[in-house]
Subunit: 101 residues, 4 copies
């Protein structure tokens, strides 16, 4: 399963990198495969593994803030392994080149 998550406090200033950093330490410590992008972090694992990591991130941000917004987008496809790698690969192979500029 893949999940993309973004978690940030409401009303704690305009810069959010502190909170992203706090979550990334938790995600990295989980041992799960993940990838940070400019709008969120994609995590790969079983439903329960991934959701437990997200829960810990959410709680870590809520710990010393008053209000937290969390967005989770899940793509759960049976029998798929290494979806994080393969989803981009399959589109790039179809296109015949890397897809970023």
């Amino acid at each position: 399963m893949l999940a993309e998550v973004s978690i940030f406090p409401v009303g704690e200033g305009v810069s959010l990198s502190k909170w992203v950093g706090r979550c990334l330490r938790i995600i990295d410590g989980s041992g799960l495969r993940y990838q940070l992008n400019p709008m969120g972090t994609v995590i790969e694992g079983d439903y329960d593994e991934v959701m437990e990591v997200i829960r810990r991130c959410h709680m870590a941000v809520l710990e010393d803030t008053e209000r937290v917004s969390t967005y989770i987008k899940i793509d759960d496809r049976k029998g798929t392994k290494e979806a994080m790698l393969k989803k981009v690969q399959s589109v790039e192979e179809r296109a015949g080149r890397p897809l970023s500029r």
Copy 2:
């Protein structure tokens, strides 16, 4: 905490009301406060309560489909009770009238 969730299978036809119905039975059975809208269902409760209901919905849709898309938007504000009711109320009071057409 409030969470809005939408869960549906990919590649199981254009009509999704069967799956929404399956999830709504689970959500209703949970005893939590909830509200169906045209784009999702808002559920109110503690983080773990709400996320456990969402987990059961996700699994119920995945049970006999191959791929499931789940979107969760969380608004977790400390010390707030009856947020489902009050969030709309506070904006309507400010506006002086009901906000739908």
Copy 3:
């Protein structure tokens, strides 16, 4: 077409109802059918009509803030009229009762 939108500034305090109110005045003034829920506002109309209203809301919030987060979830189904009403209705009819608690 239906779109659910939520628009709020980052770093402008914990309460967001002022900004929701500002957007709702624009949405209401558009003449389009809409419905406020605790996590967003669902708007019904053609793609260009709805996206133009959302653009005006986004700009109105950005006007006197530094950073704005906007989430748009679109469900565009050909040949559907009054989807806002019918989507909830069809699930409630299937269930045989209103779906909220």
Copy 4:
């Protein structure tokens, strides 16, 4: 402005890479900076530029399908240039290492 977008048809089978490919050709042709990730594509540009590209993608998928789901997450921060690059960089610098596994 940064926007992450994912656009796919409902009821057109389990594999979505064909549709992602169709959108990516449009996005690439726009000349805007973009980055494909396993859960969406992040595009950078002015609000109107980015939203016009998303509109063309949405219409291209709707063209020969019946129902399309589109998700747009916008982060619009005044005075920011090269946000696509800098958002990940600033978190990685804080962490002192690349943030993916």
